[in-house]
Point group: C2
Chain length 583, copies 2
Amino acid sequence: MSDQQDLTAYIAAFVAELSITGVKDVVISPGSRSTPMALVIAEHPELRTHILVDERSASFFALGIAKATRKPVALLCTSGTAAANYYPAVIEARISRVPLIVLTADRPHELRDVGAPQAIDQIHLYGKNVKWFVEMSLPDKTEEMIRYARTVCSRAVATASSYPQGPVHLNFPFREPLIPKLDEKLFELTDRTGRYVEIQTGRISLSDAMFARIAEELAVYKNGMIVCGQIDSDDFTERVLALADILKFPIIADPLSQLRSGEHDGRHIVDTYDAFLRNEDAKEALKPDVIIRFGAMPVSKALTTFIKENRHARQIVIDSGAGWREPTMSANDMYYCDEALFCEKISSLVDYVPETAYLDKWLALNDTARHQLIGIADTEELSEGKLFHLLNEMLPEGATLFVGNSMPIRDLDSFFLFNKKKIRVMANRGANGIDGIVSTAIGVASVSQPCYLVLGDLTFYHDLNGLLASKLYAININILLINNNGGGIFSFLPQANEPKHFEMLFGTPLDLDFRHVVAMYKGKYDLIKDWTHFSKTFTENQHVEGLKVMEIRTTRESNMTEHRNLWKSVSREISAMVKGDET
Amino acid sequence: MSDQQDLTAYIAAFVAELSITGVKDVVISPGSRSTPMALVIAEHPELRTHILVDERSASFFALGIAKATRKPVALLCTSGTAAANYYPAVIEARISRVPLIVLTADRPHELRDVGAPQAIDQIHLYGKNVKWFVEMSLPDKTEEMIRYARTVCSRAVATASSYPQGPVHLNFPFREPLIPKLDEKLFELTDRTGRYVEIQTGRISLSDAMFARIAEELAVYKNGMIVCGQIDSDDFTERVLALADILKFPIIADPLSQLRSGEHDGRHIVDTYDAFLRNEDAKEALKPDVIIRFGAMPVSKALTTFIKENRHARQIVIDSGAGWREPTMSANDMYYCDEALFCEKISSLVDYVPETAYLDKWLALNDTARHQLIGIADTEELSEGKLFHLLNEMLPEGATLFVGNSMPIRDLDSFFLFNKKKIRVMANRGANGIDGIVSTAIGVASVSQPCYLVLGDLTFYHDLNGLLASKLYAININILLINNNGGGIFSFLPQANEPKHFEMLFGTPLDLDFRHVVAMYKGKYDLIKDWTHFSKTFTENQHVEGLKVMEIRTTRESNMTEHRNLWKSVSREISAMVKGDET
């Protein structure tokens, strides 16, 4: 049987190692079984603890910190369904490749599957959605088991951090008594005071011969394009720009590629393709013979369709995570290689191309479409599209823009165009859920300021509990709530043609006045009356601390009409232009 | 490839069968991939649909209906993390044996694990926490596949309903286009218009020879007790009372045994054991030689300890679900047999015992403890214990009382004593989570009126989203919110002796004024000032529709002091009494 000394020594060694390996933040949900781990973590001088009662919100909050810092964040909860509430965030972390260390307390073996309180089967609780699962031993202070606690910890952090990053799950059985002995020497390690095992993760790379072959093959193509989906690496940005410049390939830049903002000149950036790739003339004019893809599959459905329609082109996908981000079944080549390294190597091997007509065509069409799209600035009514256009102008330097799924991410794609500010754009695009968005954004905001979140009313409602973190930890967050009273995206889908049951099943108006809930969380709430009021409040709020919600009420119908009209006007201009070129 | 005809015919057959097999309620969360199933369900004239955006709340709401009706309830959501949000309720349903039919829409095979949007691995998403998982075929209108859809549906409902009841999961891959053709003949079945397979589930029973042996063996024991944990079956109540009367065994009745309320005379019911089994003199006086247990393990820790301390006694556990509800490692015999049937058979085989001193001892101690406990009625301050005492008197005939975990269930155990009203008492005691309680109770309320929910502030906060159902569907629910600003139970646990970090990790005050959120959901809110105000509001609210929240503010410290003082006074009286008996 383990006693207080076993408990204390074993957990202290684990927690000491957690900090040594670089974990800074632990998000804890209160509970009894997790007491020993919670107390020891709270006692550690270098771990920052965040206590959040709703485990679903807690796990998305942790996801947000990990996304923003690209470093593993630990989560701790008690036994039972508490741990099951982590499931959505764990899946999102797995697919969007975010490092999380999930620590769950459990009943010891003799209290499992026998009807004991708060006991569920926690072995492989998250199935294949974690990179690694370990059922830990009971606490034990022998030297061997202290080494075990430290090496498992070190390995867990390394596994979560190595590419593709992702969640790991360690399940800790604890017997009563659950109270460790806290004293000053708690974290004094008797053996190897640094990291127990120094773990170095190399970058995945192809051989020089293979790079040479790829470079040689690329020289054949005249009409090449680079597609960048969600990717968040400083190295990569610089190098893909260099590669595009050498090859004179346009970069089709998803809003989450981090290429639509920044200090570079944006010479090769195409950012309005979602509008003009709906036009047949444009698609005909832009047929590529090679497509090089980096990052996740972009948001734009028009782009996905274009890729699928060009299966004759050589399609190359580069993925440092050695996955299969390729739903189009178009790829000819899948290169498992660090993306920045790939760009660097190929750039050094191919000849500089002074210019290509193909790039010029993309850029010209992009200019034309951009000209139409920014016409949205003239809209007097409150509109979802114009909001993103304005954000482009108004977001302060260094801001993070977090965007909800469903409509906001699509409007971001359409209207948040290239700018020279340093804006980091984020979203939960692993599983594209409407769950946990508030918490993820507030997690981001806890380590990255200023932070702006744009989301719809259903998404806001889904994670209202997430607002608590802002109140408890005085985290500044600017929420731009687009309230069209229901699920706006369905108006764009075939469901909209079936009026029977439409409002009930898809429109789903909630009729909630969110002013109340913002008051409960001690936030500042403003119902935006018009764009002047918006600008004024936006500016004013930059000097207000804590939670700030600006609600922008729109209607689903007018939003759809506005989008359709814009796409039509883009299409008209694009057709005129393409046909003008031909004559 | 499947087309609209395949889609329509296959799903219509499935949904027709769902209704034929007796499913009445479907809780749907909006989404795109689930469109065909949602539209066909909405079209069915006999299925009642409930649309709830937050899948976690939706699934607990479904759990509530299923608990109250003891009939399977269907759940439907779209692909992605939507389905992962069902996990806590699925686990609760599995452990507390509640029938749920979980229907999840999924991407078709070619869009899985390739980075397509909103696609996660849904195969065996809930692991071992469902009784049955089926990856459905793609929609197909051939006669063979219509038979397949109908038989799988029929089998799913039967599997969920048979003992032990529990959740099943059917995963439906759907390809675009997702719109079925709704017409008048949608649910016309061409073959077997009734249930496709008539499934009859028998009751589990021992052989007559075995019953005879058990009856014979029971005759040997003088000091026998019956322990009833959570169980909810009308048959059982009557028969266990008859058995107790024949054997003259006391029934130690957990508040969830449904034995503490009802029209019977309560002659053998012991309901204050949690108070007096903390006393060594009582425990010494009450040593049993046989313990017969039915239902889940009771809430009372004092009772569990007493059972463990009496391993010399013959301990018999009866479980119709053929599980292992036995964390004490004390059972000598485990009988997998329908509980009502067991009582009936044994009653018919054993001789009538006119009286036992052992029963008299239990009842005398129970009377003494009861006398002390109802002294709480004199408390002038707002107190958690007195609330349950008052509910005993004030709850209207036929009410359902739903109780949150952590402190409320324990106060229920201590203070909600035997009464002759028809009160059904419910709680989520599978995994004892603080998640989903509001939704479960509102699900119960949607089919059983009047309904009262007593819960603490952390539990209320955890599922605030659950309040939406009351607003959307005008469901009457009376919420008695005990707000002690944090986790009250920890004051009773050893953690309370560690002042360092206590408030941060365990006290966790949220400092929320819930008045605001009740206003958002258009509910009636009252902050209770004193017991007179409580009575007045309680009575008044019986004539108010919709959501009603009565907030009772208490302090964790005074609650703990009150409980400790009461236990002490019970113990003093009990000791005096036991010693008096001996002299």
